[in-house]
Amino acid sequence: MIALLLILIPFLTGLAAFFMREGKMARNWSLFSSLLTLLCIILLITNSVSASNASFDIAWLPFLGSRFTLAMTGMVKMLVLLNAIIYFIVFLATFKRAFIQPGRYFGLMLLMQAGMMGVFLAADGLVFYFFWELALVPAYFLCSQWGNEKRIQATFKFFVYTFIGSLLMLIGMIIMHGKTPDHSYALQSFMHANLSLTEENFLFWLFFIAFAIKMPLFPFHTWQPFAYEQSDTSITIVLSSVMVKMGLFAVLRWILPIFPHAAVSNSHLIIILGVISLLYASVIAVRQNDLKRLIAYSSIAHIGLMCAAIFSGTVPGMQGVMVQMFNHGIIVAGLWITAEVIETQYGTRKISELGGLAQKAPVLATLLMIMALGNIALPLTSAFVGEFLMFSGIFQYSIIIGAVALISIILSAIYTLNMVQNIFYGNTLPATQDATDINRNAKYAMIILTVLILFLGFYPQPLLQLVNDSVQGILSGLNFVLK
C-alpha cells in the first residue's frame, strides 16, 4: 500500500496544484507534498511500516495480460528516497523564487515525480512503460516553458531522442510479451521467457539503446548538455539527479535479470563504451566555459563510469553503482543549486565572467567547494565509496580497462578545480563586483546535502546494507549464466 502511496501523493497533489493560481499557495503545497513523500519512504526504510505493505498488486489491463504491480527492493527504496530528497531540496532551494504560471510549474514537477516513482517501483512491463512516459511528458513541457532562449530547440532534441528510446523499449516489451509462457508483462514472467540466444541478443540491444539514451551513454549523449544548459536549473536538478538514474536503474532491474546471457556476452563492448564516455566527457569538460555545460559533461562522465561498472558483473562494481546512483544524485544536485544561485544572482553562467566570489560569497564558496570535492570523489565524501567500489570492480574485470578508466580521476580534478578556481578565486570581475552571498533557502538545502555527503562518506554502511539484497539478487542471476 505504501508503494502506491508513494506514487499517489505526488500524482494527486500535482493534479491539485494545476488549479492553484497563487504562487505562494502552490509552492507551499508542493513543499508539503514532497515532505509527505519523504516521510513515507523514511518510514518504509526505517522499518516502521511492515514489509508486507511495501508491494502492491492489482488487476489493471487484464486483456493485455498486464497487472498493476509495484515491488520494492533495496535499490528501489534507495532511488525512491533519492527522488523524494531531491524534490524536497529543489522546492526548498527555489522556495523564494517567483515562477511564471506557478500552478502549472509545480503541477508538472509533481507529475514528473509521480512518473519517476512509478518507474522505480513498477514490476510490470507495461506499467513501467506507462510511468516512463509519464515522467517524460511533464519534463518536456517543463523544459520548453521555463528556461533559456534556445529552450524549444533543446527540448525538441531531448524529446525526440528519448522518445525514440521509449519506442524501442515498447517494441521490446511487446515482443517479450509474446515470448512469455503466460503472455503477461510481469517482470517475473519476462525472466522466465524462452529466448534463443539470437533473440535475446536482439532484445537486449533494443532495451539497452533505449536506456543508454536516457543515461546518456556515448555516443547518444548530445541531447543532454544542450537540454541541461537551456532548461531552468530547478528542472535540470531533477533531470540530472533523478531522471538519468532511470536509465541505469532500468539496466539493473530490467536488462540484467531478463537477458543475462546477452548482458554477459556484450559486457566487453559496453564497458569500453562506458569508459570512452567517461574519458571523452571528462576531456571535453576541461574546456567548457559554460558552468551548466561543464556540470552536464561531468555528469555524463560519471554515468559512463557507472554503466561500465554495471557490466563488470563484479560484487564491488555492482555495489558501487548502486550507492553511486544515490551519491551522484545528491552531489550533482548540490552543484546545480550553486549553478542556479550563480545564474540568478549574478546573471551569467560563463565561467570566464565570474571570479573572486570567495571574497564576496564565502558561504557559497565553502558549500560549492564541498560539492566539488564530492565531484572529484575525495575520500570522506560519499562519492569516494561509490567510485572506489566501481573502479575496483572494473579493475577485477580487466586490469587494463581499470587502469585506463582511473585516468578520469585526474581529469575530474582538472576540470573541477578549474571551475572552482575561475569562479571563486582571483579578483572580482564586473559581474561579481557587487555579488551577494547565497540566499537563505538555497543555503539550507545545500547544508542538508552537505551533511548527507559527509555522513555517507564517513559511514557508508547504511547505504551499502540497504542495497545489499539487490546486489546479491542481480549477481546471482549473472553468476548462474557465467557457470
Binding site: 571523452y280 572506489f388 579493475f395 546486489v471
Partner: protein
Amino acid sequence: MNALVLCIPLLPFLGFLIVGLCRNKLSKTMSGILASGVIGISFILTLVIFFSHSYSPNAITYFNFISNSQYNIPFAFQVDQLSTLFMLIITGVGFLIHVYSTAYMSEETPEHYARYFSYLNLFVFSMLLLVLGANYVIMFIGWEGVGICSYLLIGFWFKNNQYNYAARKAFIMNRIGDVGFLLAIFWLLARLGSADYSIVFSNASTLSVTDVTGITILLFVGAIGKSAQIPLYTWLPDAMAGPTPVSALIHAATMVTAGIYMIARSNVLFSMSPVTMDIVAVIGLATAILAASIALFQNDIKKVLAYSTVSQLGFMFVALGVGAYTTGVFHVMTHSFFKALLFLGAGSVIHAMGGEQDITKMGGLRKKIPITYWTFLIAVLAISGFPFTSGFVSKDEILMAAYAHSQPLFWLTTFAAVLTALYMFRVFMLVFLGGFRGSEEQQHHLHESPPAMTIPLIILAVLAAIGGFVQLPEIFGGHDYFNEFLAPVVPAFKHVGESMAVQEYYLLGGTVVGLLIIFLLCKKWYAVKHFEGKYTGIKNVLAHKWYIDELYDAIIVNPFNNIAGFLKSIVEKSGIDGIVNGVGRFIQYSSRQVRLVQSGMVGNYILIMVLSITVLFMVFWNQDLIIGFLQKIF
C-alpha cells in the same frame, strides 16, 4: 585505549570544525589557542602511547567502512612503533608550527586567520589518518586528505591567481600519483581479498613475482607523486606560494614524507621485488642530484629550501631502495627537525624583511635577527651533515647503506650531499653575512620575530642538533636505539660490520674537511656586499630549473589542451552532434524533395496510378518467378 587512540586524530578534526564553522565569531587569539591546543593535546596523548609502550600489531577496528562478500575494509587504526613515530613527528612538529603560525599570520583578518588554522587542523587530522590507518584504504583516505589540505593552503591567498595555479598543479600532480596508489590497492584487493596490513603482509608470499612487482611499482608511483620525485616533483617548488609555516609543516616535515612512510610500511612487499627496489634507488638518486643542482642557483629563499626538500626526499628513497628502511625513516625524522627549522627560520627572515623572499636583496642579517641567525646556522650545519648533528647521523647511515649496496651509488649520493652543503651555505652567506642589499625602508623595518616564533625555532634547533643521538654509530659510543625501536615493524638494515668502523672514521674526517672547504669557498663567493644573481651558460639553465616546467608544458599540458579543444569543438560539435542534427536535417531535406511529387497535376496522378496498377498486375502474374529469384539471392 581504543578511545584514546581515536582521540588523537579526532581532536584536530574537532578543532577544524569549531574553528572553521565559527570563523566569523572567534577572535584571533581564540582560534589560535583552540587550533594549537587540540594539536598540543594530541601530542600529549601520543606521548602517553609512546611512554606506555602500548603498541600492538593488531588493528583497532571501529566499524566496517566498506564491506561486501569479496572484501571487507574496516575503519581501523594500527598503533605500532612506526605509526607512533610518525604521530610524534606530526603532532610535535605540527604543534610547534601552529604556535609559530599564531604570530606569523597575525596580519590576516580574524576570518582568514581562523580559516588558516582550520585548514591546518584538517591537515593534521588527515595526516594522522594516513599514518594511523590499519589498511591501505584508510591510508589512502588520509593520503588524499592531505593532498586537498595542501591544495587549500597553497592557494590560501586566493586573490593571487598565480598561487591558485600552483595549488591546482600540486593537487593534480598528486592525483597522478594517487592513480598508481589506487591501482595498487585494487590489485591487492583482487589478489588477496584484503587491504589490511596484517593480512597483506602475512600472505605476501602467495603473490606471484609479477603481482608483487606490479603492486610495488604502482605504490611507488603514488609515493613519487606525494613525495615529489622525478618526474612529478615540479609541484613542490611551486607549492611555496603558500604561507611559510605551511611549507614547513606540509611541504617539508610531514606530507611529503608520506611516500617514505608508505614504502617503509610496505617493506615486506618491496623486499620481495628487487626490480622495484632498484627503480626506487635510481629515481631517488636522480632526484637528489637534479634537485640539488637546481637549488644551487635559485634566488628565492623558499625555492632553494623546496628543491632542497626534493633532494633530501631523494636521499630517503635511496635509503629505501637499498633496503635500509629504518634509515630512510630516520632521515624523515631528522629532516623534519632541520627542514622545519630552515623553513621557519626563512619565515622569520621573510617576516623581518617585510615579505621579501629574494636572497639577492638580503645580506648581513646576522646582527639584526640573532636568534634566527643562530638557529638557522644549526639547521644549515645539520642538513650539510656537520659531525654529530642529527643530519650527520642520518645521512651518514644512508651513505653507509649505499656503500654496502654498490660503489657508484655511494659516490653519486656523496656528490649530492656535497651539493647540499654548497647550496645551503650559499643561502646562509647571502642572507646572514656580507652587507645589506635591500632598500632603506626594509633596513629600517628589520626586527627580530616575536617569542611565539622564536621559541619554536629554539626547540627545533635543539632537536636538529641532538636528534641524531638516538642512532649514533657504535664506534662513537652510541647505540641503534632507533632501529631497535622500529624493529618489530621494520627490519633494520644489516650492514654494521667490523670493516665499517674504518669507513666511519673516513667519513667523519672527510665530512669535516669537505665542509670546511665548502664553507670557505662559499664565504669567498657569496658573503659579499653586492650580489647580482644573474647567471649565464649552464648556470642559467640551472637557474631556470633545467627548463623542466617548460618541457612539461610543451609535451603534456599544451597537447592535452589542444586535444580537449579539438574534441570539444570538432568531434563533439561537428562530429557526433553533427551526425545527430544531420539525421534531422536529412529528414527535413528529403521530405522537402518528396513533397515535389505532389505536383497538383491531375494528369500526373492518374498516370502514376495507371502505371502502378500495371506494375501490380505484372508482379501478381509473375509472383512465383519473383519469389524464386529472391530466394536464389538470399
